[in-house]
């Protein structure tokens, strides 16, 4: 990290050279990865990411530069260079910036820092989990288990007096199972993660998840192709929340809203979803995968209610977006590393629990699809077109779960699907993922209770 006087001077230099706002972000991250596959530890990798970025604004114009050269000369010249690139008028600044550090309370207590855990302990978790998947059934032809930990220290300072630090520790176990019968393969996976240290393995039932990954692959191996067409779809809790993440979440980020590119731009206070839908982005949840004490602009994270009973209440707003939108930033500005300028992103985003019983939701469907486990998805925020893959799906016939089906994809447009979420269950659960967007790949949670979408286009390989 840099001495305070260098940071202050660099911010001063940026303002003197035409910036109306300047910010310095420093990151020092340690990472460990252990992967076992094909009955072998395949890669054991330790890494260090270390660098800083300087960002300046002039109105809504922004310039960002990053470097790994921490020499005083280099920091100062970068500060001048970014400010000069704004090509705004130089100002005679009189008051030098004086920074006073403010540290926010970190709710996400780490019991067992990965740095302090011996690598062989980590390896033990990996090999044990690997064995559970691999020995689950003779048709499991391959497995891979990857242990990841990250210890990320950041410092943010800006010309408005923000000067704060944070240390975030995250741990994850990515499990994949491949079931095969020689002619075909199917996959299943689970990837628990927490903003925790090694104690995550006391809180998460890895064995159960490992078996669940294997079971999904096996179920899909013997499943026929999913029929295609328009039908009611019940989406299971947990990772099912990827539907909200893609269909709506991205379109509520300032990145799309500020320039009017989102279908939901200018709709605050309007009904955009069924009244049963309340959706929240909450970066404050204790020790959750997508949680943060501060965001990457040094703003304290908050709980943001995005949709309340179907009414659009809020957007996810970063500092630059705030300037365009005339709103306050709300603690959601994030980035993969110092190699990205931060922007508005999701943290833990979920549909709040409703009143419907899971049994009643399934029973309400005469002929449709139950997407028990979802895979990933993506969206085009301009058109609202989204898609996601069903990892484990079943047909519903006459209100009962029928045979499993494979290869289903759900598609639609965000503004059209939100009013169709007409049943919302009680069993809220979160699930961990990585979300890729303008500022890189970041840890986020999706979540929801079981929901019903009254009709959706289901893509499968079987004509209905």
């Amino acid at each position: 990290m840099l001495p305070v006087f260098i940071i202050e001077k660099a911010l001063d230099l940026a303002l003197e050279n035409g910036a109306d706002f300047a910010e310095i972000f420093i990151e020092d991250t340690l990472k460990n990865t252990l992967t076992m596959t094909n009955d072998k530890m395949e890669a054991v990798i330790s890494g260090r990411i270390h660098g800083y970025g300087i960002r300046v604004f002039s109105g809504t114009k922004s310039v960002y530069a990053y470097s790994g050269d921490f020499s005083q000369r280099s920091v100062y010249s970068l500060a001048k260079e970014v400010a000069a690139a704004l090509s705004s008028k130089k100002i005679d600044k009189t008051d030098p910036i004086i920074l006073n550090k403010q540290i926010f309370e970190n709710k996400h207590i780490i019991a067992n820092y990965p740095l302090a855990v011996e690598a062989k302990e980590k390896a033990k978790i990996v090999s044990e989990t690997y064995r559970i998947i691999k020995t689950y059934d003779p048709r499991i032809v391959q497995a891979s288990v990857t242990y990841l930990d990250e210890d990320r220290s950041i410092m943010v300072a800006n010309s408005e007096g923000v000067f704060t630090e944070d240390r975030a520790v995250r741990t994850r176990l990515v499990m994949n199972a491949v079931a095969g019968d020689g002619n075909q393969n199917q996959t299943g996976g689970e990837s628990p993660g927490r903003r925790m240290g090694f104690e995550m393995f006391e809180k998460v039932n890895v064995e159960e998840l490992a078996k669940s990954a294997a079971k999904t692959a096996l179920t899909m191996l013997s499943a026929p192709e999913c029929p295609s067409g328009v039908m009611p779809v019940v989406i299971g809790n947990g990772f099912g929340g990827v539907i909200f993440h893609e269909a709506c979440g991205h379109a509520l980020e300032a990145t799309s809203v500020a320039k009017g590119n989102s279908v939901f731009a200018g709709k605050l206070g309007e009904k955009i979803a069924n009244e049963k839908v309340t959706a929240i982005d909450d970066g404050t949840l204790e020790s959750e995968w997508g949680s943060n004490t501060i965001d990457d602009e040094g703003t304290k994270t908050t709980k943001n209610v995005l949709i309340e009973n179907g009414i659009l209440k809020n957007y996810l707003v970063d500092r630059l977006g705030a300037r365009r939108m005339n709103m306050e930033p709300n603690g959601c500005s994030r980035r993969q590393s110092y190699k990205y300028a931060p922007t508005s992103r999701m943290s833990n985003t979920f549909i709040a629990p409703g009143e419907d019983e899971s049994d009643a939701i399934i029973a309400s469907v005469a002929d449709g699809l139950y997407a028990k486990k979802m895979g990933g998805g993506s969206v085009n925020p301009v058109t609202g077109e989204f898609n996601f893959a069903v990892q484990e799906g079943y047909l519903i016939k006459n209100g009962k779960i029928d045979r499993p089906v494979r290869g289903a994809t759900l598609i639609g447009k965000g503004s059209e699907v939100l009013p169709k979420i007409d049943m919302v269950g009680k069993d809220l659960a979160l699930a961990e993922g990585m979300c890729g967007s303008a500022s890189g790949s970041i840890p986020t949670c999706v979540g929801q209770p079981m929901i019903r979408v009254s009709s959706m286009t289901v893509g499968g390989r079987e004509a209905k």
Binding site: K40, G68, N380, T457, G460
Partner: protein
């Protein structure tokens, strides 16, 4: 610290510890700017470097990387990699590579124009692109309009005597215009890219960008059912990218690719030949050596429907008892050696696109695919992807189509290829290399719509 100094220190320390070591160093300088409403919207500069190390201790291998290249890192990197080697255990096939008699072909991967053209000129180009795109009355603004250049230098050395270096440049200029007609809104995307500034043609990007934004106006869903399908060049290249790992020896040895042990067998229709060419001048995937330092060469992966070879690095090749095909891939400085292609493409055929459309009467020409990371599964070969395209009527493109999925199985699909057009197009680089394809009429696939 300079790379050569750092390398000497690391190798001296490794020698003291009695281990072999390999270093991979990369330094990148990049610039990008985007414009919005005639002014600079964002402007990014960067200058970073990092180093990855593999340490070979008896039969075990450990890895570490760092973006801090100083005196202290010398010891830290080696020690940390050695600790990791203890955990990784026996790796009987992973070895550092060096062959004194290797000859490396010179391939052009660097063009100094990306550095010589001043930033001011690059900004002007971006402004010009936005301005010219907005001259179309149906384009209301741009979502993005940017130019980005980068130059990276790379060194690969090991204690056996390998000492290689490479320099690459790139430029990409792109625009995503937003079109609005009545209540219909859509964004297009178009780019030019290459290793030098002469690859950029603003007029061409403009024409394509506007066309991409507007061409789906009035698009509707079609009825669900089985349709004749022709994939447009770039969408087919994207599909090839999704399923590239089926040609990876690593994937095959792990039983994930179903092509394990099938070299020499007919796995696709006779008209299909897939080539991996590391020596195409000015192409992003070109290089004279791979991620382990093995000299690259051109090869057919599939030749007239027959699987000629899978792609190997030295580890998977040693396991199979053959030579590496020079397809060791790396993801930046992270010292994990995977399998990558260079410029991998489907060989052009004899038909024109019009021929294919004539044959696929009543079918759909797919021009856009979304959700590849979710809807395409390389382990099973299954795909079900959100798509857009055009109905094929009387041998011509008719009504635009949206909100459909096209689904099938890649292994099955390549057996039934009906026709291949006579022009190849490449997409932007991916984590597995650069991919290209002509238009391909693949026969019947299932489409979900209404």
């Amino acid at each position: 610290m300079k790379y050569t100094t750092f390398k000497d220190k690391v190798f001296a320390y490794a020698a003291k510890k009695g281990v072999e070591a390999e270093l991979y160093y990369m330094a990148t300088e990049s610039f990008s700017t985007s414009v919005y409403e005639g002014d600079i919207d964002s402007y990014n500069l960067s200058n970073t470097s990092g180093i990855g190390i593999r340490v070979f201790n008896n039969n075990s291998v450990g890895n570490a990387y760092s973006e801090v290249i100083d005196e202290r890192s010398v010891k830290m990197l080696v020690d940390s990699a050695m600790d990791n080697a203890v955990i990784s255990g026996i790796q009987e096939y992973e070895r550092p590579y060096f062959n004194k008699s290797d000859i490396y072909k010179t391939v052009k991967t660097y063009d100094d124009s990306v550095e010589k053209v001043p930033v001011k000129k690059k900004i002007e180009m971006a402004k010009e692109l936005e301005k010219t795109v907005l001259t179309n009355k149906d384009i209301i603004r741009v979502q993005n309009c940017a130019v980005s250049t980068s130059v990276s230098e790379m060194y690969l050395s090991n204690t056996l005597g390998l000492n290689l270096s490479d320099k690459k440049s790139s430029v990409i200029m792109y625009v995503s215009p937003i079109a609005k007609k009545n209540n219909w809104v859509n964004n297009g995307f178009a780019y030019d890219a290459g290793i030098g500034m002469e690859s950029i043609d603003i007029e061409r990007i403009k024409e394509k960008g506007i066309n991409e934004a507007l061409k789906y106006y009035g698009a509707k869903q079609i009825n669900s059912g089985a349709y004749k399908v022709v994939f447009e060049k770039e969408t087919m290249a994207i599909l090839l990218t999704c399923f590239f790992t089926i040609f990876s020896s690593d994937s095959a040895q792990k039983g994930i690719s179903l092509l394990k042990g099938r070299e020499g067998e007919k796995i696709a229709s006779e008209n299909l030949t897939i080539i991996d060419d590391p020596h195409m001048p000015g192409a992003f995937g070109s290089e004279s050596f791979d991620g382990e330092g093995v000299p690259t060469y051109k090869k057919n992966i599939i030749e007239k429907g027959v699987l000629n070879t899978l792609l190997y690095n030295t580890k998977t090749a040693a396991k199979a008892g053959i030579k590496s095909t020079a397809n060791a891939g790396r993801a930046g400085i992270v010292p994990y050696i995977g399998i990558s292609a260079h410029n991998c493409y489907i060989k052009k055929g004899m038909h024109t696109l019009d021929d294919l459309l004539y044959e696929a009467e009543g079918g759909v020409y797919i021009t856009d695919l979304m959700g590849m990371h979710a809807g395409a599964n390389a382990a099973s070969g299954d795909f079900s992807l959100l798509a857009r395209g055009f109905v094929i009527e009387k041998g011509k493109l008719a009504a635009p189509v949206e909100q459909i999925t096209v689904s099938g199985n890649f292994y099955t699909m390549i057996k039934g290829i009906k026709g291949i057009s006579d022009e190849v197009k490449f997409t932007l680089p991916t984590e597995y290399g650069v991919f290209g394809s002509p238009d391909i009429y693949v026969g019947m696939l299932n489409i979900a719509g209404k």
